[in-house]
C-alpha cells in the first residue's frame, strides 16, 4: 500500500515535471535564427528528458520547486538598469540590448567575432569534450537561446571584457550563451554580471577552448532576488600550459546552480576555481564542479566557500578525476562553510576519483559557526557582537571576492552580496 502510494506520488511528480517542460516549450517562439538547429535539438532533448529528479545522484540535494513555480517565457530586449559606469579599462557589452549587443561598439584589439561557419563548427565542441552537451541545464539553454556571443581571442586583450545581462520582471527568461576560442598565447579577462529579479529565469552557458599557453580569467557575479532562479554552466577545455582562473560569487536566488566543468585535454595546464555562495531566507545555492585531467602534470587549486543562514541551504559537489594518464597531477580542493543558523543546511562533498599513483591530491571540508575567539577579540576592542559578526562574514567573503577581476569593483560585490545596499 505504501509502495503504491509512493509510486503514484512519484508518477504525479513526473507528470508535473513533464507538463512544466511541455508548457515551457510551448511558450517558446518557433526555432529561428543562427541557432535554429541547436534550438530544435535542445527542445527535442527536453521533451525526452523533462526535469532532473532528486533520484539522480547529481540532483539529490537540489529541489527544483523554485524553478517549477516559474512560468518563464523568452523576453524581448531588456531595459538597462541603473548600473554603475564600467571600471576604467573595461569594455562593457549589454547582452540584452535591442538588436545587436555589439552595435556601436568596437571590440578591443585581439578580439573578433566568429563567422557563421566557424560558429557552426565550434559550438558545442567543448561541451562534448566535457561530456555535458546532454546535461539538462545545457539543453535548457540550447532550447531557448536565440543567439550566441562567439569570440576569437587571438592576442593578449588589454581591457577587461564585461558582459552584463539582467532578467528583470515576472515570467522573463533570459538565456545567455557565450563561446570563446583562445588561440595560442592569447589572454582575456572576462567579467560576467548576471542580475535577476521577479519570477525570472536566467540560463547561462559558456564554452571556452584555451589553446596552448593561453590565459582566461573569468569572473561571474550572479546577483538575484525574490523568486528568480539561475542555472549556469561553464565548460572549459584546456590545452597544455594554459591557465584558467574562474571566480564565481552568488547570492539572492531562490535557486541557483552553477556547474563549472573543466577538462585538461593533455594535462600540464593550471586551473584555479574559486567560489562564494550565500544562501539565506529559503534559498538554495548549489555548485557542482568537475575537473578532469586527461594528461600528466596538471594543476588544480579549488576553493569553495559558502554561508548558509536562516533556512538557506548550500550544496557543493566537487568532482576531480585523475585517470592513469594523469601522473604527477597536483590538485587541491577546499570547501569552507559557515553555518549561521540552526535551520540552515550545508551539504558538501568532495568526489575524488584517482587512478594514477604518482599524484598529490588534497581535499578538505569544514563547516563551522563564527569562531568564539575571533568574535571575542573584536568585541574586546569595542565592536558590538553584531558588528563583529558582520566583519567576520565580510572577511570570510573577501578571500574569494578579491580574486574577481578588478572591473567588478564598481558593482560593489561585497555590499551587494551581503545585502548592504
Amino acid at each position: 500500500m505504501v509502495a503504491a502510494m509512493s509510486n503514484s506520488a512519484s508518477n504525479s511528480a513526473a507528470l508535473a515535471a513533464s507538463s512544466w517542460v511541455t508548457n515551457f516549450l510551448e511558450r517558446l517562439p518557433a526555432p529561428a535564427g543562427e541557432l535554429e538547429a541547436v534550438q530544435w535539438r535542445g527542445r527535442e532533448a527536453l521533451s525526452r528528458q523533462p526535469l532532473p529528479t532528486r533520484r539522480q545522484e547529481d540532483w539529490r540535494f537540489t529541489d527544483l520547486a523554485p524553478l517549477t513555480a516559474l512560468t518563464p517565457a523568452l523576453a524581448a530586449a531588456g531595459e538597462q538598469g541603473s548600473w554603475p559606469a564600467p571600471a576604467a579599462g573595461a569594455v562593457r557589452l549589454w547582452l540584452d540590448a535591442p538588436g545587436d549587443p555589439l552595435a556601436g561598439q568596437s571590440l578591443p584589439a585581439g578580439l573578433s567575432l566568429l563567422d557563421a561557419d566557424e560558429v557552426q563548427q565550434a559550438l558545442g565542441h567543448t561541451l562534448a569534450a566535457c561530456n555535458c552537451e546532454q546535461h539538462w541545464p545545457v539543453e535548457l539553454n540550447q532550447a531557448s537561446a536565440p543567439r550566441v556571443l562567439a569570440l576569437r581571442v587571438s592576442a593578449v586583450v588589454a581591457p577587461t571584457l564585461e558582459l552584463v545581462s539582467q532578467a528583470a520582471g515576472d515570467d522573463v527568461m533570459r538565456p545567455v550563451r557565450v563561446l570563446l576560442l583562445l588561440e595560442e598565447k592569447a589572454s582575456l579577462e572576462l567579467l560576467q554580471v548576471q542580475l535577476g529579479s521577479g519570477s525570472s529565469l536566467t540560463s547561462l552557458v559558456i564554452e571556452a577552448h584555451l589553446g596552448r599557453e593561453s590565459t582566461l580569467r573569468h569572473g561571474l557575479l550572479a546577483l538575484g532576488e525574490g523568486p528568480a532562479c539561475f542555472f549556469g554552466h561553464l565548460a572549459v577545455e584546456q590545452e597544455p600550459r594554459s591557465l584558467l582562473e574562474s571566480v564565481w560569487a552568488s547570492h539572492g536566488w531562490a535557486l541557483s546552480r552553477f556547474e563549472p566543468r573543466v577538462v585538461q585535454a593533455d594535462g600540464e595546464a593550471t586551473t584555479s576555481l574559486k567560489a562564494l555562495q550565500l544562501a539565506d531566507g529559503q534559498q538554495l545555492a548549489d555548485t557542482h564542479s568537475r575537473v578532469e585531467f586527461r594528461g600528466p602534470e596538471g594543476q588544480l587549486d579549488q576553493l569553495h566557500k559558502a554561508i548558509a543562514d536562516d533556512r538557506g541551504r548550500s550544496v557543493f559537489n566537487g568532482a576531480v578525476k585523475v585517470p592513469r594518464a594523469a601522473q604527477r597531477t597536483n590538485a587541491s580542493q577546499l570547501s569552507r562553510n559557515l553555518l549561521l543558523s540552526n535551520q540552515a543546511r550545508i551539504d558538501t562533498k568532495p568526489e575524488l576519483e584517482i587512478v594514477a599513483d604518482d599524484v598529490r591530491c588534497a581535499h578538505g571540508a569544514t563547516v563551522s559557526r563564527l569562531q568564539t575567539d575571533e568574535l571575542f577579540y573584536l568585541q574586546s576592542r569595542g565592536l558590538s557582537a553584531a558588528v563583529a559578526a558582520g566583519l567576520l562574514k565580510r572577511g570570510f567573503c573577501e578571500e574569494v571576492l578579491r580574486a574577481l577581476p578588478a572591473a567588478a569593483a564598481p558593482w560593489r560585490p561585497l555590499q551587494r552580496l551581503l545585502g548592504e545596499t
Binding site: F376, Y377, L378, S380, R394, E398, E399
Partner: protein, 262 residues
C-alpha cells in the same frame, strides 16, 4: 606611580570563576588606582590568564562569586564591548588572526567605538590614517601592516606590537597585558615595553600578567603580586619579582599547600 589620593580604577573583591566545571579563580582580591603599574606573576595554571579574560568578559568563563568594580560600576554586568568602550583593554597573549578583515578598517572601527563612548567625534578614513600613522611610531611598526588582514601571517613580535598599537589608539584607563612578553626577542621586548611606558600616565593604570622577571627589567611595576592556585598569595614591590627570580616558585607552592590544608 603610587599616590594615596589617586582614584580607584579597578577593585576586585573575592573574585571566583570557573571554566566549564573547573574552578580556576578562588577568591582574587586586587585594587588598582590611577597611575599605578601592577604585575601579576605566577606559574602556568595559576589563574593569571583567566583573571585577565574574566575581566575582559570572555564568554567561556563563568563568574561564580565576588565582585569587580570598574570606576565604581559593576564591571561584570557589562558586555565585553562595553568594557572596552569604557576604557578597559586586554592585550592578548595569543592575538587572533582574522583573515580577510583589513587591519586598518578594524583599527578604525574599534577606535571610533571608544571615541564615541568618550564623547569624541568619529574619525573618517583620512583623519584616522593621520592618527594611526602617528601612533605607529609608538611601536615602530611599518605602515604596510595596516593594509594586511588582522594579525594574519604576522610574526609573534608583530602581533604583540599590533596589540600595543591598538592600546595606543584606544587610550584605555586600565590596560591588562596578558603575557605580552612571551615569544618576543630582546629587541621586540624593548619596543613593546617602550610603547607601554610611553602610554602610562597618572590617569591610567597597567596590569602586567607575566611569567618572567625580564619584562619587569624594562617596565618598573609599583606592585608585584604572586598568584597560585587561583589566588593572590603575596603582594610586594618590585623586589618581590627579584625574589621570585632568585628562589623560583617552589616556596610559593609550599605556601599554597599550607593554605589549602587550612
Amino acid at each position: 606611580m603610587i599616590r594615596p589620593d589617586a582614584d580607584t580604577l579597578l577593585e576586585i573583591v573575592d573574585l571566583q570563576a570557573r571554566v566549564e566545571d573547573k574552578p580556576i579563580l578562588k577568591g582574587v582580591n586586587l585594587t588598582i588606582k590611577a597611575g599605578e603599574i601592577h604585575a601579576v606573576m605566577g606559574r602556568n595554571g595559576s589563574g593569571k590568564s583567566t583573571l585577565s579574560k574574566v575581566l575582559a568578559g570572555h564568554p567561556a568563563y563563568t563568574v561564580t562569586g565576588g565582585s569587580v568594580l570598574y570606576r565604581g560600576a559593576n564591571l561584570l554586568d557589562l558586555e565585553p564591548e562595553q568594557r572596552a568602550r569604557l576604557g578597559l583593554f586586554l592585550g592578548f597573549q595569543y592575538p587572533v588572526e582574522i583573515p580577510g578583515v583589513s587591519n586598518l578598517e578594524f583599527l578604525r572601527v574599534s577606535t571610533n567605538a571608544r571615541r564615541g563612548e568618550k564623547g569624541e567625534e568619529e574619525l573618517d578614513t583620512f583623519a584616522f590614517e593621520d592618527l594611526v600613522r602617528e601612533r605607529l611610531q609608538v611601536v615602530q611598526m611599518d605602515p604596510a601592516f595596516l593594509e594586511r588582514s588582522v594579525n594574519e601571517g604576522f610574526s609573534g613580535g608583530e602581533k604583540k606590537r599590533n596589540e600595543i598599537l591598538q592600546m595606543a589608539l584606544l587610550d584605555p584607563l586600565v590596560a591588562i597585558l596578558d603575557e605580552t612578553d612571551s615569544g618576543l626577542d630582546i629587541d621586540a621586548l624593548r619596543i613593546v615595553a617602550g610603547g607601554v611606558n610611553h602610554l602610562a600616565s597618572p590617569d591610567n593604570a597597567t596590569l602586567l600578567i607575566t611569567h618572567y622577571q625580564r619584562l619587569l627589567d624594562v617596565i618598573t611595576p609599583d606592585y608585584v603580586h604572586v598568584m597560585a592556585g587561583g589566588r593572590i598569595l603575596r603582594t610586594g614591590g618590585k623586589e618581590l619579582a627579584l625574589e621570585l627570580e632568585d628562589r623560583g616558585y617552589d616556596w610559593v607552592d609550599q605556601e599554597l599547600a599550607v593554605l589549602e590544608v587550612v
